[in-house]
Amino acid sequence: MKSSRRKFLKLAAVSALGLGAGRIGFLGDAPAGAMDIPTAADYNAPREAKHWGMAIDTTRFNQELVDTCATACHTQHNVPTIPGKKGIKWFWGANFEESFPTEHGHNLPEDVEHRTYPLLCNQCEEPMCVRVCPTQATFKRADGIVMMDFHRCIGCRYCMAGCPFGARSFNFQDPRPFIKNFNPLFPTRTRGVVEKCNFCAELLALGKMPACVEASGGALIFGDLEDPESDIRKVLRERFALRRKPDAGTGPSVYYLM
């Protein structure tokens, strides 16, 4: 019932877009590099997986690359730029101590200490945010992606209390005036709802890779964790990887290659 409702909405959106394929001028200028409005045909070859996951090659990350990926993500999803403690972040960077507080790493190798680690929602296997949400506005898809229905969220912020990774942001005010590059192909939010990274589910549906993965130049490896032949499984077999806060028991799908 629920999934059929969502399928219907998706189909409806696709056909609406398909009928009106072309450029919708009145929506304003899309950011440079934004794609054309997809048609129904574009949804014929979605990227699918049993369990989407991400491996982050932390050796390649510095603040600059984090910023590049964050900009790609935030532009794709109309994430507003709000300074200060009420800000909204889908993709951001932090030092080792903040990223892995439960490791209490002392006397770390210098390069490990000086990397900037990209942070985003871990798309957990046992997501606490889904467990606590009273309206099912936060839900987990069969392919492991933890999604948000911005129209159902009542803004109780229980998910923010539940997430052990600080991966969620709340729209304390109308975000629209703070959007730098407006992407007409992704909705904006209203005030009073929570938001977070969605693994670019909307791009996967079009057969594309997530925006940050595209922007990372190979430093982010994205793929099916349940397929032993996938790139992500190959790299996880070869290199040592950490997951954040394993003691929280949420089972992150994001791996940090050290």
Binding site: K85, K86, C133, C153, C156, F165, F170, A248
Partner: protein
């Protein structure tokens, strides 16, 4: 019986009008919050719940505390509480209402609030909290009103009330347990992640709630001819004393677990509260005030000689209410969020709009309480003779 609320002394009407003004002012600020969003609060990405949710937590305790009268009265036939029991039930009604209003003013999208009912989600504790709070409200409304009506007509309450009363006793424990479960069980929040959370909640409820009830009752006793009886006052004071001892004991258990184990995650929030963490000492003065007041109140409550004297009792109760309010209505929620998941602290102190909106909710609670108590006391005066219109009590 409600017509009893419509006749009252100038002082009664003055109080009503005063409360309406407070409510009106707060409603104005709430409108402001509705148009601007929760940006008018000091909440942040890190401290995502604050003053509103803390008040919910505190007043759930006040509501649950009615059971401290109901239980001895119905289970142990402790008749001395007969005059106060209705006051406790009506206090519970107004407290639960305030709790629910605090959730509403805290929502980012209050107009979507019914989504909780349209999409029932049994895995979310908030869903169960809504159920138990509403249930408790209705139980107390039905029981309180029916018993009062029976009393007025000089009859024993109908037999179907009895099972409801027993249910309400269990229910009272459930509202505070479920509210504690809102916090306990979140893996990232060490201050809340403790099996004793629900027990601590109940202990603090059973001292602070009856303390507020007793203070209000003593106030009414002063202003009107209503007298709950010395035995009732003494017994309630004893209950409060025991509950406060247990409350403090439970907190000491938390200290032992955190500091003997030396686990950084468990120590950090307590260090934050009493010493400051990551350079932030916002709550330190408050928490030490709470600790000192708690000790003084216990020192005054434990010796029976001091406790049974009116002025000392009132002072001790006021100190106890302040201490428990700082602990639960300020420290508990913020320390759950500080340090945040990155072991950093983001400061939080309620803003003026937050406080004024809260005073709207307090005002609504106080208004309901005034009207309900007025009805209850008028009925009592009508049945037993005497009047409650501000006649000073007869000298004993």
């Amino acid at each position: 019986m409600i017509e009893k609320a419509l006749r009252g002394s100038p002082r009664y009407w003055g109080l009503i009008i005063g409360l309406l003004c407070v409510i009106g002012l707060g409603a104005g600020f709430w409108m402001f919050q509705l148009t601007k969003g929760l940006v008018v609060t000091d909440l942040s990405r890190d401290v995502s719940w604050g003053f509103y949710i803390a008040q919910l937590t505190y007043f759930v305790g006040v509501a649950a505390s009615a059971v401290m009268l109901v239980l001895p009265y119905y289970f142990h036939h402790f008749k001395a509480f007969s005059k106060m029991i209705i006051l406790g039930e009506f206090l519970a009604i107004s407290s639960v209402t305030m709790c629910m209003l605090f959730v509403v003013v805290d929502l980012g999208q209050p107009q979507r609030m019914l989504n909780i009912i349209f999409h029932p989600t049994p895995n979310s504790v908030l869903f169960w909290d809504m159920i138990v709070l509403n249930g408790y409200l209705f139980l107390n409304l039905i029981i309180g009103w029916t018993s009062l009506q029976a009393f007025r007509n000089n009859m024993t309450p109908p037999t179907w009330v009895k099972p409801l009363v027993y249910l309400s006793v269990i229910w009272a424990f459930s509202i505070h347990t479920v509210t504690a479960f809102l916090y306990a069980g979140l893996p990232g929040r060490h201050y809340w992640l403790t099996a004793i959370m629900a027990a601590r909640f109940l202990a603090s409820a059973f001292c602070s709630g009856p303390a507020i009830l007793l203070l209000l009752t003593l106030l009414v006793k002063r202003l009107t001819s209503f007298d709950p009886g010395k035995k009732a006052i003494d017994t309630l004071a004893t209950i409060i004393t025991y509950a406060m001892c247990v409350n403090v004991f439970f907190f000491l258990l938390e200290l032992f677990t955190a500091f003997y184990s030396n686990m950084p995650g468990h120590m950090a929030p307590i260090v934050y509260l009493f010493k400051g963490f990551d350079g932030d000492t916002t709550l330190v003065p408050f928490m030490w005030t709470a600790a000192v007041l708690a000790i003084i109140s216990l020192a005054m409550l434990i010796p029976y000689k001091i406790r049974q004297q009116g002025p000392a009792l009132v002072t001790a109760l006021i100190l106890l209410v302040i201490a428990s309010w700082i602990d639960k209505g300020m420290g508990l929620i913020v320390a759950g969020f500080a340090p945040n998941p990155f072991e950093k602290v983001t400061a939080y102190l309620p803003t003026v709009p937050e406080l004024v909106v809260s005073s709207m909710v307090f005002g609504i609670g106080a208004l309901m309480l005034t009207v309900l108590w007025k009805v209850a006391l008028s009925v009592r005066a009508e049945v037993e003779g005497g009047n409650i219109s501000m006649v000073p009590p007869k000298p004993e």
